[in-house]
């Protein structure tokens, strides 16, 4: 167990140190997110009335796009220089490597969310500092990253690696995006708690099931890396 934890922490530490140095993932995710919001602003004409109904949708589309970008890049960096071979040569549980990578990815996405949400609040004059809403953002991100990290480990090994990840990931994450958007609307517009809870439950079930399966199946995705 201590070995498992040490592996997870070491992998996260490595991703943070690397990212602190080149800032590749965070800057590209941030710029991309801002661009998505800007485009939505023009495309949907985000005036005061429109905002209320579409805010949650815009926010989640932004995070899913940015998340895909980050997860893809983070896995691609393991491919460069054959680093994944290096990881596989080490006598550690493969799922610990997965958990480490997923935590790193989650951390990067949360950083982006922490930056984007206040910016969105200021730009469109919406109060987003609702604790319940922040919880939805956290829970939704967990499930999305859990599946995204595993699928990215597959897609970077494919011939069409740059375009494959969103195609694999989006249809599988619909059951998390719908409830996340709905629960977000619920909290932002002050809907009754019981209504929101039914949506939150779907997210939590998804998080639990898919994180567990991803942890179990990761070793089959990385064996015989080529």
């Amino acid at each position: 167990m201590r070995n498992y934890l040490r592996t997870v922490i070491t992998v996260v530490w490595k991703d943070i140190v690397g990212e602190a140095r080149n800032k590749e993932i965070l800057t590209s995710m941030l710029v991309f997110s801002l661009l998505v919001i800007l485009i939505f602003n023009f495309a949907l004409d985000l005036d005061v009335q429109a905002q209320e109904s579409v805010t949650a949708g815009v926010i989640w589309v932004t995070f899913t796009f940015a998340g895909t970008l980050g997860v893809n890049r983070s896995m691609a960096s393991e491919r460069e220089g054959g680093c994944l071979d290096g990881l596989l040569l080490v006598p550690v549980d493969r799922s610990a490597l997965y958990v480490g990578k997923a935590l790193g990815n989650l951390l990067f996405l949360l950083v982006i969310e922490v930056i984007i949400l206040p910016i969105y609040s200021v730009l469109f004059n919406v109060n987003m500092l609702v604790p319940g809403f922040l919880l939805v953002v956290l829970l939704g991100s967990i499930g999305y990253i859990a599946v995204g990290t595993l699928l990215a480990a597959m897609s970077v090994q494919a011939r069409t690696r740059d375009i494959l990840l969103p195609i694999l990931l989006f249809p599988l994450t619909i059951p998390i995006l719908i409830p996340a958007v709905k629960a977000s609307i619920g909290y932002l517009e002050g809907y009754p708690g019981s209504w929101i809870m039914t949506w939150l439950n779907v997210i939590i079930v998804y998080d639990l099931i898919f994180t567990a399966i991803a942890v179990m199946l990761f070793e089959y995705v990385v064996e015989e890396w080529s």
């Binding site: 070491t10 140190v17 220089g81 990881l87 040569l89 015989e224």
Partner: protein, 238 residues
């Protein structure tokens, strides 16, 4: 020791290893020779647990692959033709990272020692991205030695190295061998390994076709032996 019997591996319909037998005893320094595509890299990847055999028996250090992979991994150092290093970490950080994963006690001290061993003591705080090919290869060598493995596998370690680095590499390999460790080096450049190895195995079309045991072998003699071995198996290019 390493013992391989009737090892088979195919990629799709292409047969890469077809019933290969291979054995290395403790303290032997074996050079694995063969033309491109003869299966050298595949064999090393299977021995290092990175690739799964399709059939046959593979024992490394007394442990069976792929079932007992973690035991093998603990005892094995591997230098691939890729560096297995992160460009955005410094040399030191790379070694700390792997040292912690290998559960090396006092990994910082060990990293410093290893940097010393491969002649990079002054570049510990430099980013690997800024390293030359030779320096990267030295660090890759250092990485593979971190956990003091008993079995060392090197896939074409001499490629692209300058004279100094080749000398350093050969010194380290000989030193490791003298300590009783198993060392296997692949190469397609016979001159680099002629006075390094104590045994030369020739791999062709997925099988070991010839083997000669002789220390400090004469390069011309080795060359003749190699050509003969490859020619007999159906004449592939050098």
């Amino acid at each position: 020791m390493i013992r391989v019997r009737n090892l088979r591996k195919r990629f799709g319909h292409k047969r890469v290893l077809s019933g290969l037998d291979f054995q290395v005893e403790k303290g032997e320094l074996v050079a694995l020779l063969g033309p491109n595509g003869s299966g050298k890299t595949t064999l090393l990847r299977i021995l290092s647990s990175l690739s799964r055999p399709d059939g046959g028996e593979v024992l490394v250090g007394g442990y069976q692959l792929p079932q007992e992979a973690d035991w093998v991994r603990e005892r094995l150092g591997f230098v691939s033709h890729q560096p297995l290093l992160y460009g955005d970490l410094t040399a030191e950080e790379n070694l700390w990272f792997y040292g912690r994963l290998y559960n090396v006690s006092d990994y910082r001290q060990r990293a410093a020692n290893v940097l010393d061993m491969v002649g990079l003591q002054r570049c510990g705080a430099d980013l690997v991205r800024t390293f030359s090919r030779g320096m990267v290869q030295r660090l890759a060598l250092g990485r593979s030695l971190l956990h003091e493995p008993q079995i060392l596998l090197f896939d074409e370690p001499h490629t692209g190295l300058d004279q100094d680095s080749v000398r350093m590499l050969n010194d380290v390999l000989l030193h490791m061998s003298e300590q009783g460790r198993i060392v296997v080096v692949t190469s397609h450049d016979l001159a680099q390994v002629a006075n390094l190895a104590s045994r030369f195995d020739v791999l062709s079309r997925g099988k070991i076709v010839a083997s000669v045991k002789e220390e400090k072998i004469d390069l011309d003699r080795l060359l003749m032996f190699y050509r003969e071995a490859v020619r007999l198996r159906g004449g592939e290019r050098l």
